[in-house]
């Protein structure tokens, strides 16, 4: 009896995980098609690739994809220039102001091709799927839009300590040292 219990628990746990599907390796033709964005002539806004739409916008609402995006944000040294979204040599990504647009296509083009005033191109470092993952993650940094999925947040990225850590109604401007 006692030996059975963990197995049952494990089965239940797996059942609980059946929320999202994840592919571990995307087919190369899909990868290529995912790069088929049609930005407007000024390289801001435009249409996502057909396959992106056909797949049902698989990145923005998928916690795994967002977490991958966050991991890549760290690993690709985005942090060195944008910090955790507050900005540095690169502009802030969480203040709601955009030089090139907050929509997913603008972000994809920003990451793939770079932008002239110091944003490097990641075309030779990330594949299309990874670019979508990072773009989707960037949209969550400012959390000014409702989302059904989110990554875990870095402590220092929150505008105030989480409720269970700080005093209630801590003034926004003078956070306790964290």
């Amino acid at each position: 009896m006692r030996a059975l219990a963990p197995a049952v628990l494990a089965a239940l746990a797996f059942a609980g995980c059946q929320r999202e599907t994840r592919d571990f390796r995307t087919d190369p033709p899909v990868l290529a098609a995912l790069d088929d964005v049609a930005p407007l002539p000024n390289r801001i806004g435009g249409a996502p690739p057909d396959v992106y739409v056909a797949l049902g916008q698989p990145y923005q609402a998928n916690a795994y994809a967002l977490s991958e995006g966050k991991r890549l944000y760290d690993g690709m040294n985005c942090k060195g220039c944008h910090a955790d979204g507050g900005g540095g040599t690169g502009p802030a990504l969480l203040d709601g102001w955009w030089r090139y647009g907050p929509d997913i296509v603008s972000l994809y083009v920003t990451l793939r091709d770079g932008r002239p005033r110091g944003m490097p191109s990641y075309a030779d470092k990330l594949n299309s799927e990874q670019l979508w993952q990072v773009a989707a993650y960037v949209q969550t940094i400012g959390s000014y839009r409702a989302a059904t999925a989110a990554t875990s947040r870095n402590d220092q990225m929150q505008s105030r300590p989480s409720e269970n850590r700080g005093p209630a109604r801590a003034p926004l401007t003078e956070p306790p040292s964290r």
């Binding site: 540095g88 802030a92 969480l94 203040d95 110091g118 490097p120 990225m157």
Partner: protein, 571 residues
């Protein structure tokens, strides 16, 4: 007193002027000179708006009736007459990619005037010479490579027919270097790196260190994990020349990346002081100040050369306010450390080991990957970010200091070309009490003669003239103190914060002038301009965290959309 004010010939590089006031003694009798009695009468003559919103560090250059300003990136070199009218302007082509690498607000310094030419470096990696009379470009050389993560920040040093240029790029994992160019043609004469094999670093038979730890072949390779020296760091700070000894002296920046656990070893020749043969670049000596740097201190702070008796013997001294908080006085013929005393509250380093000269680190403030170490003092920005000055009348070294501390959590970071591989969560912190001070250091007593405390850290250079200490603050106050006592004599409210260095000169009309650039920015001021979201405490090198604290918050939004040159005159 046997005191020579080398500072004026060398460290106040941008400010070398025909008829510069070196204290009141060189002034003429009739029109009054700038000094203790006259400063109260100083009035604003005119201002010139540069149209550039970036931080305005450094100083304008003055010659006869012309004043030359190099605006921040994308640069313009502007010649003005002493009424503030524009004579000419040179706008070098710029590569906007440099903005991505412009850490610390991307502030630059210069121009430097020598032999009728202006010499300057641009953030995007060019060194240039321009005829001061006409604005004609004599030569323009691309010396630093943005692709390799290199930019140029410091003003060049012009001495003996050579233009010395040092790279910036420690945070981008670029190997720091010092290059000498021919001042006539811009041709590169030599280039010496701060990491790598002895041949590239310039270590040879001339090299003699005061400390035994520096002996051995290829330390620039062997004190790193395999190949890690290629990620470099060690970019030169401001460069000084001693023509008599035939050397150039400078500090090198921190190793890359910040995370010390990625680079076990002493990481030569980063975070220390170099003296090199001015003609060949061969290293004469090296004194490490933060070997195996754990706090991204480096040693690239602005130094002073001072000749004076030391314990009864005339000595050629190098005064080095190290980023670890200790003011080090060295014999600049040998690199031997003669004195090391903290000038701001420190806890990361408790003192210096007499035998090796190495800092003794406090265990509690050491840093390791993925471990947050709290309240390390000073912060990575160090206590002195801009030029100190030697007060000729008092013999005091006037140090503009910052007392910021930091929390630091180093993180693994790959070096990816074209990106910044900082790999750290860092937050600057305003300590309890004043965040800055002008410290008048008495070299003889190894202690401050007086201290003028400031609510904000000081980030601009100091001018010592006529018994005065003149400096600007991040909240835009230009102040003149009595250099003997620190008593405040005069203050002017500028339209923007000041991180520039005031200069004094005598006009062709014989009248005394004072000029300073206003335009807040730089490592301690960039968050004042917006574009940084302070909800992320790690933004702008952790400055966002400091800006959220009460003392700092007042300067938020005070940045002007344009910097300006302020020119004052005695009636």
């Amino acid at each position: 007193m046997g005191l020579k004010a080398y500072a004026f010939e060398t460290s106040i590089r941008g400010a070398l002027v025909a008829g510069a006031l070196l204290g009141s003694q060189t002034a003429r009798a009739d029109p009054p000179a700038l000094g203790l009695e006259t400063i109260g009468r100083l009035e604003l003559a005119w201002t010139f708006r540069t149209g550039n919103p970036r931080g305005h560090a450094g100083a304008p250059a003055v010659s006869g009736d012309s004043i030359f300003v190099l605006t921040p990136f994308p640069h313009a070199l502007v010649a003005l007459d002493l009424q503030g009218h524009e004579r000419w302007r040179v706008v070098p082509d710029s590569d906007p990619r440099a903005e991505g690498l412009a850490t610390g607000g991307g502030v630059t310094d210069g121009p430097v005037l020598a032999g009728g030419r202006l010499y300057l470096t641009t953030l995007d990696g060019h060194a240039m010479a321009v005829e001061a009379a006409t604005g004609r470009v004599a030569w323009d050389r691309a010396v630093a490579s943005l692709d390799a993560g290199e930019t140029l920040r410091n003003a060049p040093l012009v001495q003996g027919g050579r233009v010395y240029v040092g790279s910036a790029g420690d945070d981008a994992g670029a190997r720091g270097w010092l290059a000498a160019l021919d001042s006539g043609t811009g041709r590169e004469l030599w280039r010496r790196l701060s990491t790598g094999p002895d041949g590239e670093v310039g270590i040879g038979p001339q090299f003699r260190s005061a400390y035994p730890t520096e002996a051995g072949a290829d330390l620039g390779v062997r004190t790193w994990p395999p190949e890690a020296w290629r990620q470099g760091g060690g970019s030169p700070g401001p460069i000084l020349a001693d023509a008599e000894l035939g050397v150039v002296v400078y500090g090198t920046g921190h190793p890359a990346p910040w995370n010390p656990d990625q680079r076990p070893g002493s990481n030569r020749w980063t975070s220390g002081l170099f003296a090199r043969d001015a003609a060949t670049g061969a290293a004469r000596w090296f004194t490490p100040t933060n070997p195996h740097d754990e706090h991204a201190y480096g040693a690239a702070s602005p130094n002073l050369l001072v000749d004076r008796p030391w314990r009864g013997v005339d000595r050629k001294l190098l005064v080095h306010p190290d980023p670890n908080g200790f003011l080090q006085v060295l014999d600049r013929e040998t690199g031997l450390i003669l004195s090391a005393k903290p000038i701001v509250p420190t806890n990361a380093v408790s003192g210096l080991d007499a035998g090796s000269g190495a800092p003794v680190r406090a265990d509690a403030k050491r840093t390791h990957a993925d471990t947050m170490t709290r309240d390390i003092c000073p912060a990575w920005t160090g206590p002195v970010l801009a030029e100190p000055a030697l007060s000729a009348e008092t013999g005091f070294v006037l140090l503009p200091t910052s007392r910021l501390c930091m929390d630091l959590e180093p993180r693994d970071s790959g070096v990816i070309p074209g990106t910044l591989s900082i790999g750290a969560n860092v937050r600057l912190k305003v300590p309890a009490g004043p965040a800055g001070a002008l410290v008048a250091w008495d070299l003889e007593r190894e202690a401050p003669a007086w201290t003028a405390e400031e609510p904000l850290p000081l980030a601009g250079g100091v001018l010592a003239t006529g018994g005065l200490a003149i400096y600007g603050t991040l909240d835009g106050r230009l102040k003149a103190l009595d250099a003997r006592s620190g008593r405040s004599l005069w203050e002017y409210r500028a339209p923007s914060g000041i991180i520039g260095r005031p200069v004094a000169f005598t006009g062709p009309d014989g009248r005394a002038y004072l000029a300073v650039l206003a335009g807040v920015g730089g490592p301690l001021g960039q968050a004042a301009r917006g574009g940084i979201d302070v909800r992320d405490a790690t933004a702008a090198g952790g400055l966002a965290n400091a800006v959220r604290q009460a003392a700092y918050r007042d300067i938020l939004g005070q940045g002007d959309e344009s910097g300006s040159l302020l020119v004052f005159r005695l009636p």
